[in-house]
Structures are given as C-alpha cells and as structure tokens.
Symmetry: C2
Subunit: 400 residues, 2 copies
C-alpha cells in the first residue's frame, strides 16, 4: 500500500506540480501526514524537490511549499542508426539536457567498432551529467532492427548488415555498468512511445507512427495508449510491407519493400541526385530534398510523389487492418511532410474501405529525428514514475 501511495503521490506531482502538500492530500484523499511522509521519502529518492524559483504560495493558514519533480534525475537515450550514433539525456520533467551525434556511415558495418563509438558518446553524456550534478538512472538503446523479447539482444538489422548482436551486454561491458541498467528496443517503437508521451500522440488512444530514416522506414503501433509489440516483439515493420512486387531488392532480401521506394536514399536516387561523398546524415539529406522540392525541382517532386504513393499504399493497408485514430509521419520524413501528407491522404481516400465514413487524421511528428533517443530515455523515466522505490536499486547512479 505504501508503495502504491508513493507512486500515486509522485504521479500527482508529475501531472499537477508544482503543488503543495495540502493540495496533494485534498486531491488524492490521503491524510496530510501521510503525504508529508511520502514526499519526504520521494525527496530522499531524489525524485521531487522544492524548486528554488517558486516562492511559497500564501494561503489562509501557514505558507504552503510547492513540490515539483526533481530535474536532477535523468535517463540516457542512445541510438545506433545507419547514419551514426546519437545520445541524449532527458530529465524527469521531460526536459532534454544533452544531445550529441557522431556522424558515421554504418551501412554494412562491423558491430565491435560501432559499439566502441556508442560507448564513447555515452561516456561524453555521463561526463556532462557529472559536471551538471545529474543522476542517470538507466539507459535505453535504440536500434534499427528486430529486438528479442529479452530487450537486450538485437536479432536482425539488415540496413546495418548485422545479425544477432548482444548489444545491451556489449554496451554495459564497455561502460563498466551493472548488468540490466540498459535496455534495447527497436528505434521506431521508441519513436512511437516518445510521440505518445511527449509529442503529437499525447491526445490519441491509437495511432501508427512511421519513422523515415536514411535507408529504412520503421513503424510503431500504439493501441490503447500502449505500444503494441506483437507475439515475438516484431510488430510495426511497415518498411518491409511490399508495395511493388516488381521493384528493387531490399537489404532484407525481399523485393519491393516500402523502404526501397520511400526511404530517403531511395528518394534521392529516384530524383537522380548524387550520393553524398561523406557519411549521409539523414536530416541533412531530408532538408536538402525539401529545399529542392520548395524550389520546384521536377525530378525531386516526382520522386517525393512516388514515395508518397508508396506510403499511401502501405498506410491504406494499415488503416484497413487496424483502423487507428491517426497516422503520424516522423523521423527524417518531417521536412518532406508538406508534400507527402496531402498525397498520402488522397491515396487513403481512395483505398481505405471506411474512407467515405472517416476523415483521416494524418499528423507530422513533433519530435522528428530526436524521437528514438527521447523514447529510449523516457522508457526508464516512466519506469521510475510507476515504481519509484526501484530508483534506490538502480545501478547507474554511482557510475554517472
């Protein structure tokens, strides 16, 4: 009961804070002395504090001291993407405190050296946390591939050219972290969770989030405000829906997958643009394509239309099967959304059986390329909100 009340009070502060102990008591129905003792425990756990900037709120009785979430408790998000490694630190209040990126071409890469680079960028993040007095309570790692139900093992990532890699073990070993403080997830699933918790999915019960990347297209399915993982954890692989049976062969071995038409590199190639000489940064490429589309470059507009039609075919299938409230386009697709969204909407209107009865809520991601690392960190922060007492057992704190 005490643990349940600890979570109740912490979540009340998360939703309504800064808030006085008295108001927490009246709004939760807990006794005032219970609330005071629970707040004391949460302060000791480093999860709430009395923010310096906010003065005491005068009331009829004695002054009430407002309580807020502690911004010194944070989690780390790491990402291994085809265009490099990313790291971000997010605090309990949802603020991004640190961001870093190592641009690298990781297509057909060797896992060992890549994991070394991930460890390097993670060490930078930890150094920042130490210098700012932040405690890092866990780390999530985002990967562009299929992850085992253990949330530790990558099973298959065709665009990296990786088979089975024990990513969580390898990262923990390189950083000298205790086993279990990191978790591994598919990047598109994490992006969907980030949008659900902190982005354009906050008001939605169900949606499918599509993440465009330099090569790949990922998907995350949210049903009942929870990530739908599937029976083996492999749900949401929208990028590998076949949209053109006579198309080109995908890195996965199948022919005509959505990402062979609507991935950023595929759009670049269809537009007849040369490959970047250096490691292709997906954001730079997407913005370059958007600039050319804005300038009315016909080959780019045609390639973007072709990508939109392929997205429309795949998303019509998704809507016919899942009937979700909304579709969200995200990742590196964001700069191209002004062209993609009207055309995708047109295909949905034609190809979804329920279209005469339904408007289509098609949204642009608000977090874009940051969504996977934010989701990776947020998974650990959300775990603290539901089981605050576990933060005392969390092992990264000592090393950060």
């Amino acid at each position: 009961v005490r643990r349940a009340n600890l979570a109740l009070v912490l979540n009340h502060v998360a939703e309504r804070g800064p808030i006085s102990r008295a108001r927490i008591a009246s709004e939760t129905g807990l006794h005032k002395s219970t609330v005071s003792s629970l707040i004391g425990e949460l302060e000791e756990l480093g999860l709430v504090h009395e923010p310096a900037g906010i003065g005491r709120v005068p009331t009829v009785g004695r002054p009430a001291t407002p309580i807020a979430l502690a911004s010194t408790t944070t989690a780390l998000g790491l990402e291994i993407a085809v265009d490099g490694a990313r790291a971000g630190i997010e605090d309990l209040t949802g603020e991004v405190r640190f961001e870093a990126q190592l641009a690298r071409d990781l297509r057909s890469s060797d896992p060992g050296p890549v994991l070394d680079e991930v460890a390097t960028i993670a060490r930078e993040a930890f150094a920042f946390a130490r210098s700012e007095g932040l405690r890092v309570i866990g780390a999530g790692i985002a990967v562009p591939g299929l992850v085992g139900l253990d949330a530790r093992t990558l099973l298959r990532a065709p665009n990296l050219g990786w088979g089975e890699v024990h990513v969580a073990d390898e990262v923990e070993r390189r950083l000298g972290l205790p086993t279990g403080v990191t978790s591994l997830s598919n990047e598109a699933n994490l992006a969907a969770l980030a949008e659900l918790w902190d982005g354009v999915g906050r008001d939605l019960t169900s949606f499918v989030h599509v993440t465009g990347r330099s090569l790949g297209i990922g998907g995350g399915v949210v049903i009942g405000r929870e990530l739908y993982r599937g029976s083996s954890g492999f749900a949401g692989e929208i990028g590998h829906m076949i949209v053109d049976r006579d198309g080109v062969v995908c890195a996965c071995g199948a022919r005509g997958c959505l990402e062979t038409v609507a991935g950023l590199e595929a759009v670049r190639r269809a537009a007849g643009l040369p490959a970047a000489p250096q490691a292709p940064s997906e954001t730079a490429l997407a913005e370059h394509l958007a600039a050319l589309a804005t300038a009315g470059e016909p080959a780019v507009l045609a390639a973007v239309d072709r990508a939109a039609d392929a997205l429309g075919v795949a998303l019509s299938a998704v809507m016919n099967v899942l009937d979700v409230q909304a579709l969200v386009l995200g990742g590196a697709l964001v700069p191209l959304c002004p062209w993609l969204i009207p055309r995708v909407r047109g295909v949905l209107g034609k190809d979804v059986l329920a279209s005469p009865l339904a408007g289509f809520d098609l949204r642009t991601s608000s977090l874009g390329a940051l969504a996977p690392t934010r989701g990776a960190a947020a998974v650990h922060l959300r775990a603290v909100l539901s089981e605050p007492w576990r933060v005392a057992e969390a092992g990264i704190a000592a090393t950060a």
Copy 2:
C-alpha cells in the same frame, strides 16, 4: 458480490461441469451453503440443471448430484451473405441445435425484401426452438460490411450494394422483438470470435482470421484473446488491402483489392469457368474448385496459385505490422486450403522481415462457413456467462 459469485459458479460449471456442488465449493473457495443457494438461483434462471443422463456420483458422504450447463438456453445467429441468408441456434453448452440456409443471389440487392427473408428464416428458427422447448435469449446478426459502434447499424456493404441500413431495428420490427435483443456485427469479426471460443483459436492469444466468401474476403483481428475492433469498429478489412495496383476495380471503388483476386468468384473467373446459372452458393463453388484442383485441372491450379500469392502478399503485410501468433484461413477458403497454405507459407517466408527467426503457424478454420452464425449466437451466450443475472431481463424468451 453475489452477482460476481453467481458468474464465478456459472463459469466454473461451464469449464469443469458436470461437477458436484461440493467440488464447486472446494475449488472456488466458496462456502457449501453459498454454492447451493447460487446453484438454486442459476437453476431458476435456466442456466444450469442436473442432467438426467448422469447418475449421482457416489462419494464417502451422501451422494453428490452433478450440475451441468442447461442445454435449453440458446441464442440465435443470423447471417446476411452475398449468397443468401443463414440461421443457426447454439446452446449454452456450445452445441449447434438448428441450421438453415436460404440460397439467394444478394449482389446489388434491395435491403427491404432481403430483411423480409431474414425474418422468415428467423421465424423458422424460433418455431424449432418452441417445438424443442428451447429458450432463445438473444440474436446476433452477421453482415458482410462495416458496422457502426452502436452494433445495430450497417454503414456500408459494397458486395451487397448496400449503404446505411438499420439492420437490427428492421429485424426486431419484423419479428416483433423488443428493442436491443439483437446485435449487428461484421461477419468476419464474428467468424474470428467463433474460432477463438470454439475453433482452432482456442489455444491462441493472437491471430488474424481470414474469411473467404463468394465475392469478398473478410478479416478478424484477435489480440490478447479479444477481438480488436479499431477506433471506429472498422478493423480487419483485409479483403480491401491493395495487392495489385493495376488490377481490376473492386465493388468498393478501389483498384486491385485482395478480394478481386482471392475471392471465390475471382478464382472462378481466372480459371475460365462459367458462372453458376443459379444463385452461387459459396460452399458449392469452393468444393467444385477443390475437386477440379484435385483432378489437376491446370487453369484452376493456376487461378488458386494466383489467389494464394495475393493472400501471401496481404498476409505478409499483416505479419510485418501485427506479428500475431497465427493466421487462420476460413470460410469458403477451407476446401482450397491444401493448395493455398503451402504457397502462402512460401510468400511469408520471403516477405516477412522476421521470417528467418519465426515459423509461421498457418491454420485451417475448423468451423468454416458456419463460423459467422456461430459467432453471432456465441456473443449472446458469452454475455450470459459474464452477467448471468441479465438473462432474467432478456426479452426474446417470451416470444420464442
């Protein structure tokens, strides 16, 4: 509490019966006198009885009288399909007590006369129930189209040529039934529920059920042992996934829907066989095609392979997005499953990203063309198991 215990005891009898009062008490932890009083109440509600055929079980103490579900409590399932109307009565023990079919060609039909025929077949079912002393506690109606969240209104059924029709109201009015004793559902959703409860889905947590019909292909998505309906109730429309963008135009207006290739009539046409002169019964057509395939008729084998490839494309997309435990082929596809299943499995192996990691559990429906009416009746019978006290309020009893 008493209501919860009433449901607890009834469900215990459903799962473990015939079972003595003493064993119910020891297995549920309820007091023996409480069990006796609850059994008395369930007997009065007509939900359990002491079956005549089963002798008293001798025990150490006084003889124990076994209790079983009453097979006199039943529900009616009705179906409006493209090849006619069907009715079935199922009792609380899961036994089918009555079946009838009116073969009619209902393509581009007028709702009024069709609903008159549905009322006719329903009256036959009620007459049978009266003659057998069965009580009918509700009726489910299956339709091949989109149904509103009210579970009473058909919104769109392209293969019937129907727009919005207040099917539940119309059927109740024709039969003089109290409002609310019938419910309307998509036939493929009901078929999936029937397989979940009484068919090949009993051991599965998640699956997608594909119902082949004379023209259409329906789908039902089961997640967490519940039917997934979608945000507007329109989920599972697998037949309208686009498999051939250059294909023929579907009744829904889109081009190249799965059902334009894998619906039975499409297979017949592709095989160069003449249309049936009379109303096409889907079961007869499916068995005719299977017989020709068994005889090695090349045009039929080619048409079935083409249907299998289209099913494979759509089901690969379903597996990539939903990662369910199994796929079930049902309805009129059942006679063709020996040819369809190996070929669909081949496409899945090629086109599903997780295929190197996953075996595919592809099953043949055990209920076939009966699944929609069984599901329609079972929805009402299941409601009795979860809220037994409502059976006293159910209104059909008096009229049956």
